[in-house]
Amino acid sequence: MSIFVNSDTKVVYQGLTGSQGRYYGMLNRDYGTNVVAGTNPRKAGTDVEGVPVFANCTEAVAATGANASCIFIPAPGVFAAVMDAAEAGIEFVACITEGVPAHDEARFFNMLKRDYPHVRLLGPNCPGIITPGECNIGITAGHIAKPGGPVGIVSRSGTLTYQALYELQQKDIGVTTCVGIGGDPVPGTSFIDCLDAFEADPDTKAVMMIGEIGGSAEEEAAAFIKHHMSKPVSSYIAGVTAPPGKKMGHAGAIVSGGKGTAAAKMDALRDAGVRVGLNPTEAGELMAEIVAGL
């Protein structure tokens, strides 16, 4: 079992004909992901190494039955790409693109919620998602993930996601699904969405959560863990020693209240019973202890 994606997931790559889309699309296919289509309105009817290219997601879905998309479109086109996927009836959209304006993110997040509530958006600015051995969507290096569980990973940081996978692989611990939610101001999928899904997944027995300073997503996750999770969690928050200061002027400081520092996040997580490491290695060791005790 896994969360969000598995061996039945069929993926259309929006921007497959670009250099990044082609490179990672083909890597994902080599991994075993069902890469069924690409989109590019100017190159409809062509193919990328045998993968057919369509003008838009609606045509791609009609022809291939795609039920997920992966966006490698440059930032100015991401808003339209997200809405294209949603209009096509796609239910899982992973947006890898970085540098998307925050106002675009806020708009498409709320438009999806209002008009396409069944769509799960991951990202933007995220490494993607991998269910090891079944489906890898995005830029995660598949071979550093050991299939099979019992650990689920959710992370806000790209390279630290890899680090977490690697720490577990070195300890011969398998992963059900690893979700990189990205660190942008309005992430489509939150820590809580993933924690909730991992709690419901019978094969996931424990969860590793990698956070960063800023915002209050980790504090909200801690509250969720405290009240709604039975499975053990280990965590690491990057930016423990980042110098303190204001964030976004006065208004930003008020929105965040006392939240946002690594210390506040770690306190909230510890209070929820989470085992918190001071660096990624320590978080991996804590998870190894948890797994040994399962």
Partner: protein, 407 residues
């Protein structure tokens, strides 16, 4: 951490940089006068004024505008008034006097290099207004208070009911009805209501169409004649939106950066200057933050945060080493690379290429892990010496770098 508080300027910028995800551009802070020009472009009422870089220019501006005027320091920090950076000038002589006092003034570590000379306004009431993103609600938050002109944090702490809030769904926008209800909830002088609604709806348009992270007016004033008017402006723009705003380039030019940050910016590197002696290079923002963490945890002081992104190729590595090499405080360099898609061999060859291209003074400690790390380490092995050492883990490498920096 309290001991680092003297670095207020860098801290404020670095924390905000770090708090956004990377790799990305820092946010762009506007000076007050730029913010007012930005607001004016969206039809909001601001005072006439001119920028001055010298006392003579300030005097000439005041003569053109006609006294009385305000002489206002233009710096990217709050507390200007308390620091003596904002003065009323009844006459041109006053302007001369105040301008010469304010230019060169140090306000929270910011040296005043430019002034805004603006026609003075009579004030009967001062309000506060802002929009920013509420990350928890994933909606825009508008705040309005009849208690303006003071630090809004104080109002929020002591009298939170004095702040009227509105959450705006970004998919719907701010309707006239919602804006009116919001304004009525703030208990402004009734004479101000209609104009405030109009100005705040324009402020919302400026915030969204202008791609701002923050727009803030403090104070928004009511004059004795009954006009509502924008008397101050704080605007932070989202640098990710630069592709649809040609005017961002002029604001980017006026961002305060130290020499190291300027050099890194010119090379397109994600760099934040800190005050320590261990130069840090890592691939990925999370790992770079994590590297700063471990250097601190083993008793060292990082000189910087530098994220070279996922690829870690020779040119980017050479650029990064050059920037760090030019920092006279750096005594040791910690390169922390985790290969994901990028394989260890490529990373190793990148580092060797960079070392050939740049003459590095400080010793380098390298940690290379992840995909094909063993192959990468093998490539590097013949190049190791007392100036280039390798350690197997992040913690070991941090300890070694800190020891070398202290030697």
């Amino acid at each position: 951490m309290a001991g680092l508080s003297f670095l207020a300027l860098r801290h404020q910028r670095s924390i905000r940089y770090l708090m956004r995800s990377a790799p990305m551009l820092p946010a762009v802070d506007l000076f007050e006068y730029q913010g007012k020009q930005f607001f004016k472009g969206y039809g909001m009422p601001v005072s006439d004024g001119e920028v001055a870089f010298s006392v003579d220019e300030a005097v000439a501006a005041a003569e053109r505008l006609g006294t009385p005027v305000m002489v206002k320091a233009q710096v990217h920090t709050g507390g200007r008034g308390k620091a003596g950076g904002v003065k009323f000038a009844a006459s041109v002589d006053d302007v001369q006097n105040h301008a010469s006092n304010i230019l060169g003034l140090d306000i929270n570590g910011h040296i005043v290099r430019r002034l805004w000379i603006e026609k003075a306004s009579d004030i009967s009431e001062e309000y506060y207004a802002s929009f920013t993103l509420d990350r928890s609600a994933k909606k825009h938050l508008g705040m309005l208070s009849a208690e303006g002109g003071v630090e809004i944090e104080t109002v929020a702490a002591e009298n939170p009911d004095a702040i009227s809030k509105v959450l705006v769904d970004p998919a719907e926008g701010l309707t006239e009805e919602a804006a009116r209800a919001w304004v009525e909830g703030a208990n402004l002088n009734p004479a101000a209501t209609d104009q405030a609604v109009e100005i705040l709806r324009k402020l919302y348009v400026a915030y969204t169409e202008g791609d701002a992270d923050l727009v803030e007016i403090n104070p928004l004033i009511l004059t004795p004649e009954g006009r509502v008017h924008v008397l101050d402006a704080k605007v932070t723009l989202d640098a990710n939106a630069v592709f649809r705003h040609d005017d961002y380039a002029q604001y980017d030019e006026t961002q305060p950066r130290d020499e190291r940050e300027e050099a890194a910016h010119a090379k397109g590197l994600q760099y934040v200057g800190l005050a320590g002696s261990v130069g840090v290079i890592a691939n990925g923002a999370g790992l770079a933050m994590s590297t700063v963490d471990v250097v601190n945890q083993v008793g060292g002081k990082p000189a910087n945060f530098l994220d070279i992104g996922g690829g870690a190729n020779a040119q980017v590595m050479a650029n990064a080493l050059e920037v760090i090499n030019n920092d006279p405080d750096v005594r040791a360099i910690f390169i922390n690379i985790f290969g994901g898609i990028t394989r260890g061999e490529e990373v190793a060859n990148g580092i060797i290429g960079a070392l050939d291209a740049v003459d590095i003074e400080a010793p380098i400690v390298l940690r290379l892990d992840g995909t094909n790390a063993a192959e990468g380490r093998e490539i590097l092995a013949p190049h190791l010496n007392e100036k280039l050492v390798m350690e197997p883990t992040m913690l070991d490498a941090a300890r070694r770098a800190v020891a070398m920096a202290a030697a």
